[in-house]
């Protein structure tokens, strides 16, 4: 059984057909890519699957269970996490707080625990702290633990966002243009982090990217989306040599 299965998903915004007959099947541990020009509907697909929008038609199954109609936090609790194209951090909270927030559902101490610092609170906080430091080590941001995120450089903010998504312990991680706005050096580091994180945690990844280099190097399979429709699907080599993809990105080969 695939981890995530999307069947014949179509979505309209008013009269505009944003996504048409989208199909997807992601296996455990697989890295999938979704490429396409601006406005092709890539982020809309993320929003449809994560419950921000309800698809007009189609089915979405996560671990065999339909997730259409579930609220975003319910879908997240099933093991699906994501990052955003434009950074969505909580500007005046610290790095470590960002990561701890992902433990929300695992925190069981309540008012009494918080007000009187009970052993239960101390134990849970210690666990959260350990997990947070482990993740920060992984992403090489441990030295920034206590910093307020708004003061951090862009590349570090991207890593915080990634750490926060990982802290929910997802089986499937959606990354929306995770290298957007990075310089070549930051990009190379980020690629290493993806590989390392994937190796260590083994979750499946569904990646939206503009930079072909990133998807070509990381992904097992790639879909190309143009005007809400998948025009090509295959391994990186197949996609690279597909004339339709070349056309969508570069225009027709010969113009008469």
């Amino acid at each position: 059984m695939p981890l995530l299965e999307v069947k014949h998903m179509t979505h309209f915004f008013g009269g505009l057909r944003a996504v048409h007959d989208f199909n997807l099947s992601i296996e455990k541990g697989e890295i999938r890519g979704l490429i396409g020009p601006n406005g092709a509907g890539k982020t809309t697909i993320f929003n449809l699957i994560t419950g921000v929008y309800q698809p007009t038609e189609g089915e979405i199954l996560f671990n065999g269970q339909s997730i259409i109609g579930l609220q975003t936090h319910e879908i997240a609790s099933l093991g699906l996490s994501r990052t955003f194209q434009n950074l969505r951090l909580w500007r005046h909270m610290s790095v470590v707080e960002h990561i701890k927030m992902a433990r929300y559902s695992k925190i069981t101490y309540g008012l009494v625990g918080a007000f009187f610092d009970t052993p239960q609170r101390r134990r849970e906080e210690k666990e959260a702290e350990e997990m947070a430091y482990h993740l920060m080590d992984e992403l090489a941001i441990t030295h920034l633990a206590g910093q307020i995120v708004t003061n951090l450089p862009y590349g570090a903010q991207r890593r915080v966002e990634m750490a926060r998504a990982l802290a929910t312990e997802p089986d499937l991680l959606f990354l929306d243009e995770p290298t957007a706005g990075m310089n070549p050096e930051e990009l190379a580091q980020m690629m290493d982090i993806f590989r390392q994180v994937h190796k260590e945690f083994g979750m499946a990844i569904f990646l939206i990217e503009h930079r072909l280099r990133v998807v070509m190097e990381l992904c097992d399979r790639i879909q190309t989306l143009v005007f809400g429709e998948v025009i090509a699907e295959g391994t990186p080599e197949e996609i690279q040599n597909n004339p339709k993809v070349v056309e969508a990105y570069l225009g027709k080969e010969d113009i008469h």
Binding site: N47, T50, V52, Q71, T72, H73, A76, S77, S81, R82, F84, R88, L89, W90, R91, H92, M93, E97, K100, M101, A102, Y104, S105, I107, G110, L111, A114, F115, R164, A165, T168
Partner: protein, 307 residues
């Protein structure tokens, strides 16, 4: 000097009322980016709930069903009213605001005003236009300290207010719900991705704000016992001004600005004829806002896409 200290004490008392109410405006704004314009009327509801709880407990004590000292009745009244009014606040959120979560902000603002009118009118229908008087649970005692007269009520009001603000701060900083509230204030859309139910946190925020308004109304009732259905309007708007002065969404700002407002009002009245009090006080605040449009503790909000 004595004159100054006397006004200082009075300003602390009024500042406590404003601060407790302003906190409700600011918390809700921080989490949901809307001002709950029914908040002043929630203060009124809290006061009436407190009236019935206190009267009930006094009655039960009088007939000997339970014998409670008056100070304990006051404490119980505050606690029970806070809890019941919190439910009223959550009901307002559920019925009035949640269906409009994605509507333009102006619609939500109008909703608040309408809910306010509904609460006032319901009160009139159920209890009539007759004014009620909050039962006297604390006998006034006056202490003279170096020429300044301080009543036990004033001390109690300021002490209870500061205690509640301290507890609120603990709640916001240490519990997972408080942490979720803070996160929502910075970016709403990501919070559910952490498995956090937005609606629960939104309801909780309304509940907390309303509970603080209820506490303020009971404290107010001990000092100014006359109640009427419109008692929340003026004090509610003034606390709203404090919330804006403190900086939209800032909890510390709301508390500090509540006291600042109390000070400006009392000292305006002490220097100028008291009929000029509001004119002078609010001109000063207007002047501050011209120079600090985001309030004293507010941050400039970049526009956020709210999913």
């Amino acid at each position: 000097m004595t004159y100054f200290l006397q006004n200082f004490v009075n300003a602390l008392q009024w500042g406590s009322f404003y601060a407790l109410i302003a906190l409700g405006y600011s918390m809700v704004y921080g989490v949901l980016l809307l001002f709950n314009f029914a908040h002043g009327d929630i203060f009124m509801v809290g006061s009436y709930i407190g009236f019935f709880v206190a009267t009930g407990l006094v009655g039960l004590s009088a007939v000997g069903v339970i014998t409670l000292p008056y100070w304990l009745i006051l404490v119980l009244t505050i606690l029970i009213s806070m809890i019941l009014t919190a439910f009223v606040g959550m009901l307002v959120e559920r019925v009035g605001y949640r269906p409009l979560r994605d509507a333009p902000r102006a619609s939500a603002a109008i909703t608040g005003l309408m809910i306010g009118v509904i609460l006032e009118t319901l009160n009139l229908i159920m209890l009539g236009a007759e004014r009620y008087k909050f039962p006297e649970l604390l006998q006034t005692e006056i202490y003279e300290l170096g020429g300044v007269s301080v009543t036990n009520k004033k001390i109690m009001i300021v002490f209870v207010s500061l205690l509640l603000m301290y507890l609120l701060n603990l709640f916001v900083m240490k519990t997972k719900w408080g942490m979720a509230m803070r996160a929502m204030a910075y970016d709403f859309a990501v919070v559910p991705l952490m498995g956090i139910p937005l609606n629960t946190i939104a309801a909780l925020t309304f509940g907390l704000g309303s509970a603080l308004a209820a506490a303020a109304s009971i404290l107010f009732g001990t000092a100014y016992p006359v109640m009427d259905p419109y008692m929340g309007v003026t004090i509610g708007w003034k606390a709203f001004v404090a919330a804006i002065l403190g900086g939209r969404g800032s909890i510390v700002g709301a508390a500090v600005a509540g006291f600042i407002l109390g000070f400006i009002e009392i000292f305006s009245a002490s220097v100028f004829p008291s009929t000029y009090r509001d004119l002078i006080a609010y001109s000063i605040i207007l002047f501050i806002l011209v120079f600090r449009p985001h309030g004293l503790f507010g941050q400039e909000h970049t526009s956020k896409l709210r999913l």
